[in-house]
Amino acid sequence: MVVRESDYRVNSPPITSDPPDHRPMRMVLIPPFTPQAVARLEAKARAVCNELIDRFVANGMCDGAVDYAQTIPVLINSQMLGIPAQHGDQFREWITMALQTGVTDEAALRQAEEAIAAYFEVQIKPRRENPGEDLVGFLIAARSPDGEPFSDRQVLGALRLLLVAGIDTTWSAIGSSLWHLATHEQDRARLVAEPESIPTAVEELLRAYAPVTMAREIAKTADIGGCQLREGQMVLLSFPAANRDPGKFPDADKVVIDRKHNPHAAFGLGIHRCIGSNLARMEMVVALQEWLKRIPVFSLDISKPTTWSQGTVRGPRNLPIRIG
């Protein structure tokens, strides 16, 4: 499906770059996101989850998306980037403008992109003298594999990507997982009884509720499956549909919570494989483990509306939950 034809191009390496420009920024960004590196954030993630649960557990109800899922990645991402967590509401507003409103409204997209760039310009300034330990400083000090510093435009683009790519994706994934467990009694009971199965379950929830659909720009006019694609057009790349390919996954439309063979594509495939996949997995596993420990029994409150995002990232935005 062709989504949009436009001359407006967001610059966000590595996701917006092609080889050979793609590799330098990607190679710099990968080490802080390996499984070993993100394991160092696990204790912080557990503490964040428990603090959030403390705020609503006694009320007997909560909004699983607003009170829980959306806040976890904001706090973890801002800790990694070294930017104040209080700016979280602002980040979410920009991200919604860029990824939801911005899909059809180019002015909103431009406005969000400019606001994010201006925000990071302010964050970069003090770190020019003293880069410190956080990711913003790390990127300013970073050198590409051939020893060159990155331009301001590249650094700003990459920071924009880390902010936009890490938050509503993970928020959606945690929210969809909670929605599933709130509506599937048996799966919920099983994960409560067997918390060691949570990492396997997370892979299945990622497969079935894959939050991200990406796009590609057509580089060369081609005919794919009888569809004429012209150079410059944008096409959707539906990872969620690939994950429900019945030729690849038996019972593709069923959530099989202990699915053993699960080569899903929720984090993409090939050279643009999600850099944050290990971080997102850790956040999802921790969010479900801590929730199920504290709130083993819960269900969807059907007297209130559950709402889902629209755009290229899919997940619940209101998730009314009854506790107990």
Binding site: I30, T34, P199, H261, P263, A265, R273, N278
Partner: protein, 76 residues
């Protein structure tokens, strides 16, 4: 499999994109380099106790980068 054959696990570095699924599912067989790409530990020979997990790792690699091949056992 006959006594004189062994299973060897391999990773195709051209295909591996560092999803780290193999490492999560069979840490004894795979390690990750600093860029998160997988390498086989040691010779890649799969001990019989890890055979099931080797097949699971292969089935969960989204890039189809994990290969398992049967080889003649080197003479003792």
């Amino acid at each position: 499999m006959s006594e004189s054959r062994v299973l060897i696990v391999k990773i195709d570095p051209e295909k591996c994109q560092g999803h780290a699924r193999c490492h999560a599912l069979a840490t004894e067989l795979f390690e990750l380099d600093e860029f998160g790409n997988a390498r086989v530990r040691g010779s890649g020979q799969i001990p019989p106790t890890l055979e099931d997990r080797a097949w699971i790792a292969r089935a969960n690699c989204p890039e189809l980068a994990v290969e398992i091949v049967e080889q003649a056992k080197a003479p003792d």
